[in-house]
């Protein structure tokens, strides 16, 4: 039962700049691995989510990743890479 899943999920933040507006990977991921958060908290008002660099995406629950690559396929700017451990690929 206790299978350790240790994928390397990288996000190129130079390409992925508006995750809250795009949200394709967030919505397609079956185990809901990703979360988004705002980089700076502004008291009382919301930043423009379409403005690049206001929100950031993080593969927080990456121990649930199955390596299905749906997020990589759906990313419009090719910012995501998912690399499963070698022993799982053979």
């Amino acid at each position: 039962m206790n299978v350790v899943i240790n994928p390397k999920i990288t996000v190129d933040y130079e390409r992925c700049t508006t995750p809250f507006d795009c949200k394709r990977c967030i919505r397609i991921c079956p185990p809901a691995v990703f979360v988004v958060y705002d980089i700076e908290s502004h008291r009382g008002y919301e930043v423009d989510k379409k403005q690049p660099g206001t929100y950031k995406m993080l593969p927080l629950y990456r121990d649930k990743c199955t390596g299905c690559m749906k997020c990589v396929e759906v990313c419009p700017v090719d910012a995501l890479t998912v690399k499963m451990p070698e022993e799982m690929l053979t």
């Binding site: 350790v4 809250f20 949200k23 908290s41 989510k49």
Partner: protein, 277 residues
């Protein structure tokens, strides 16, 4: 009785007695009653990210230690608790306090869901504190909409119909902060309890759900309503079965049943469940 009933309920279900929350919910103080002593102890920051990294890296010892630390810290606070729809409605009606609908902060993070108007909101905030929401930080950015108690109850029924369970949350020590309407995996407390064993920030409800096999005709309306993997359809007996050890008592399956075949039983009615929270 859960730990909140011991602390706040004086032998009764804690969220049912408005007087116990009067200190801060209404900005009133009963004569001779002091503010509730802080139950919080030292606030430990969430190490969840660190714990999840350790788990992914195969360092289960660190993962277990961080989770245990978080649980020990959470055990000194009031936790969130699932409540059945009728009790959520009762809370709204009996407390007679300001009620406002607002966005869900968990869904914003986990599904990038932006709720900006009453038709999209999925969370109820309670208490006089909500009059100051505009001064408060990012939690309320989606705006809030103040509701009449009856309208708030109608919205609760709507959310229940959609399949969202009701979580009563506290804010401060003797202050009912709100009623969240959540689902797995979007809701952080649910997900972190079910997947990662944070079992103190979300406490099981005061009831469990039980199927009355005589009334049930096996139609399956309740299937898919359980967010905790407690309810399964048992093919052999052609009836759904609910694992009482896993059930959180949110009663979503009960409100889906057309035949009244699912009953709520107080957790204290069964010896083995009395201390399962």
């Amino acid at each position: 009785m859960c730990r909140m009933c011991d602390w706040l309920g004086e032998g009764q279900i804690w969220y049912k007695n408005p007087k116990l929350h009067a200190n801060r919910m209404y900005k009133l103080r009963e004569p001779g009653r002091k503010p509730q002593e802080s139950l919080r102890g030292n606030i430990v920051g969430s190490n969840l990210h660190e714990a999840l990294e350790a788990k992914a890296n195969g360092d289960l010892a660190t993962f277990n230690r961080l989770i245990a630390e978080k649980n020990a810290a959470d055990a000194r606070k009031v936790g969130a608790q699932p409540i059945p729809l009728n009790e959520a409605i009762e809370v709204i009606k009996t407390l007679q306090m300001p009620v406002a609908a607002m966005m869900c902060i968990c869904r914003k993070a986990t599904r990038a869901e932006e709720e900006t108007n009453l038709n999209e909101y999925s969370c109820l905030a309670l208490g006089t504190g909500m009059f100051k929401w505009e001064r408060w930080p990012e939690r309320y950015r989606g705006g809030v909409e103040f509701l009449k108690p009856q309208d708030a109850c109608d919205w609760l029924e709507y959310w229940d119909k959609r399949g969202m369970m009701h979580l009563i949350m506290e804010e401060g020590n003797d202050f009912l902060g709100g009623i969240c309407n959540c689902d797995y995996p979007d809701c952080n407390p649910i997900r972190q309890r079910v997947d990662y064993g944070l079992d103190q920030q979300l406490v099981k409800g005061e009831y469990i759900c039980e199927v009355d096999f005589k009334r049930c005709n096996g139609c399956g309306e309740c299937l898919g309503r359980c967010h905790f993997n407690a309810l399964k359809f048992e093919v052999t007996i052609d009836r759904p079965s609910i694992d009482p050890m896993v059930c959180f008592g949110c009663a979503l399956c009960q409100t889906a049943c057309n035949r009244g075949a699912i009953n709520l039983v107080p957790r204290s009615a069964y010896p083995a469940l009395r201390n399962v929270w």
